[in-house]
Amino acid sequence: MHSQTIILYDGSFDGFLCAVFLIYEQKVTHPIINKKNKSTPTQLFATTEEIHTEKQKAKRVWDGFKLKTTKTQQRMFFKAFLSEIKGVENTLFNYLRIVFMKEKTDTSIDYSNKDILKISQVAKMVQREKHRIEAFVRFRLTTDNIYTSIIEPDFNVLPLITSHFKDRYADQKWMIYDLKRSYGIYYDLKKIEIITIEGTVKSNIDIKSLSSNEKEFEALWRTYFSNVNIISRKNNKLHLRHLPKRYWKYLIEKN
């Protein structure tokens, strides 16, 4: 049996790249990259190594990757990482290894390789979630004049949707908070900030903190939604395919 090395990183993309850096630097032969969490059990037949995230090291790995890949492949890689699917780091690492073995400036890509195929499929799923969240975010204006939205996406899409919302809502303050991952993005009319909220955040914003007309506008939206429906064309299967139930919780018109 080979002795395995488990490399623990902090869950960030930079952290992951640093894990890769370490593997190359120390020529680790059988690495497993895992996200660090409180209760990682100690493995009997494996050494465990915890890495610190250093921007410089991460950048070196990423720059090397960029040399041999196209923009699309880079985005695909990042999206797959954001899926946070268990073990995705190791598939990503295999992908990296294939890329690093290639000649310089060779950006062709072999879709018959199972790791590459897997990454591209996962990236597609993440991309779809990104589109859905861009569509299904519902802002509610609060008393402090911030358009606020809470989401619980399947994947960590906040980094992917930021620029869309920044372009679109440039003249209003807004915040989108990912309840599942306990962080959000906040736009203060100038720049985007990553924020966390102390204490528990409820999925429902307290009515007292909503601006005075908010309920009225929501009622108007519901009125609109119920009046555009054409009963003689009802097609529930199609409806559910486009609008899966798990998104309903935050859709004003479905509540």
Binding site: A135, D167, A170, F217, L220, W221, V228, N235, H239
Partner: protein, 419 residues
């Protein structure tokens, strides 16, 4: 504003507008350079879906459902006894902005009944768009209805603020129009289309020379026809559609199955079913004309005036033209590849790419993603398993139908029972 009153108006004026099928919010890229409100990425986003599975992308309303006309097919017509309402210009502006800021919508689709006259109505629609753009600094999507008979000057202004303009032709034939909309003239529909087309061409030309030329209706114009209200044939419909595509550079023609809303001796009975399957076949035909290189005469002509309901128009064409088949996948040109039932445009491109490297066989074709259960009657490839040769059209059809499970089957069975 009084929310109660607005809500009442909204329910009336959204309800009256919902039969307009066009929900497209794509096309007409607009960015947000001055940090105002909104952008339009040119992609179109569906923010919600109705229970009939249609995309909700725009706030689609009428400015008013008061109307001086009496078009038989229209729920808003003068003689219909319904609740009437009218939005003030500012109310529409406020609604649009407030919905948009909450990420409910991509923009506004504003139409109207005709009060007083065409220009008086059009002027108000333009005013809404103008306020949104100039006062609210709004860069979201705006689709305005062109009111038949509106003046050239107003149409010119409309295009400066709107992304898309459309006139619904509604009734595909002149005779049908005469019967159902006696006080509307065919020329009144044509005029604004003609003007919009000219303006688009002129603005594009000027833009090439002078960069600062304002943009004019960047998402072009579209129109809609009601299907099944006047006993018109599919040929009538598609010949009209072709006419509008060619003559006015239409971006899209929409086909909307007639939904019986009114009792009228000139119209189908009130319990007539919405011809959803027929509508679908028309869209497929539209697709073949726009992207597959078919001409309308090949699909519909004197000896074939209606589309088949049980099979799609491409298969139907192929069965009537078996003498062109089988074609050799490894040699046929793009035009013929596109004509094979079961091979979509995506697959055509993949085949053209892939066969540069190797001769393709059934396994390759399957991997490319063609619908082999249809295609294999019409093609040969690099394989000894020859296609199912020398079958009569009826036989091929029967076999394909047996193996396909159309999502429309239930409609089809249903409609069959009516005959």
């Amino acid at each position: 504003m009084s929310f109660e009153r607005i809500r009442e108006k909204l329910s009336i004026l959204a309800d009256a507008a919902k039969y307009d099928v066009s929900c497209a919010s794509s096309g007409g890229k607009r960015n947000n350079p001055k940090k105002g409100l909104g952008n339009n990425t040119g992609m179109g986003i569906c923010h919600s879906y109705t229970e009939d599975g249609r995309c909700v992308s725009l706030l689609k309303i009428l400015l008013t459902n008061h109307c001086i006309y009496d078009c038989a097919y229209c729920i808003t017509r003068k003689s219909n006894d319904i609740q009437r309402a009218a939005f003030k210009i500012q109310e529409v502006v406020d609604l649009t902005i407030n919905f948009y800021r909450r990420n409910y919508i991509e923009g506004l689709f504003l139409s109207s009944g005709i009060f007083k006259n065409a220009d008086f109505t059009m002027e108000r629609l333009v005013e809404v768009a103008k306020k949104l753009r100039l006062e609210e600094n709004f860069n979201g999507y705006i689709h305005l209805k062109s009111i038949p008979g509106a003046s050239d000057e107003l149409m010119r202004e409309a295009g400066l603020y709107a992304d898309r303009l459309s006139v619904n032709i509604e009734i595909p034939t002149k005779s049908g129009l005469k019967l159902l909309a006696p006080d509307k003239k065919h020329e009144d529909f044509i005029k604004p289309m003609q003007k919009v087309k000219e303006e688009i061409i002129q603005h594009r030309a000027e833009q090439k020379i002078i960069k600062s030329t304002p943009r004019y209706a960047p998402a072009g114009q579209s129109t809609q026809m009601i299907i099944g209200a006047t006993g018109e044939s599919d040929r009538d419909i598609m010949y009209s559609a072709t006419f509008y595509y060619k003559k006015f550079n239409m971006r899209r023609v929409y086909y909307s199955g007639y939904i019986p809303v009114l009792e009228d001796s000139r119209l189908p009975a009130i319990d007539t079913e919405v011809p959803i399957l027929r509508e679908n076949r028309l869209y497929q035909t539209d697709w073949l004309l726009r992207f597959y290189g078919f001409s309308v005469e090949e699909i519909l002509n004197d000896s074939h005036t209606h589309l088949d309901l049980d099979i799609d128009p491409k298969l139907s064409w192929a069965l009537r033209n078996l003498h062109f088949f089988p074609i050799d996948i490894n040699r046929a040109d793009k035009r013929m590849l596109a004509r094979v039932p079961g091979i979509g445009m995506q697959s055509v491109y993949k085949i053209l790419e892939a066969r540069k490297f190797r001769k393709l066989n059934w396994t390759h074709l399957k991997a490319i993603g063609i619908a082999n259960n249809r295609a294999h009657y019409f093609i040969t490839c690099d394989s000894k398993d020859f296609y199912s040769q020398e079958l009569a059209p009826d036989e091929i059809k029967a076999r394909i139908l047996k193996n396909s499970n159309s999502k429309y089957k239930k409609y089809f069975n249903h409609q069959l029972r009516l005959f």
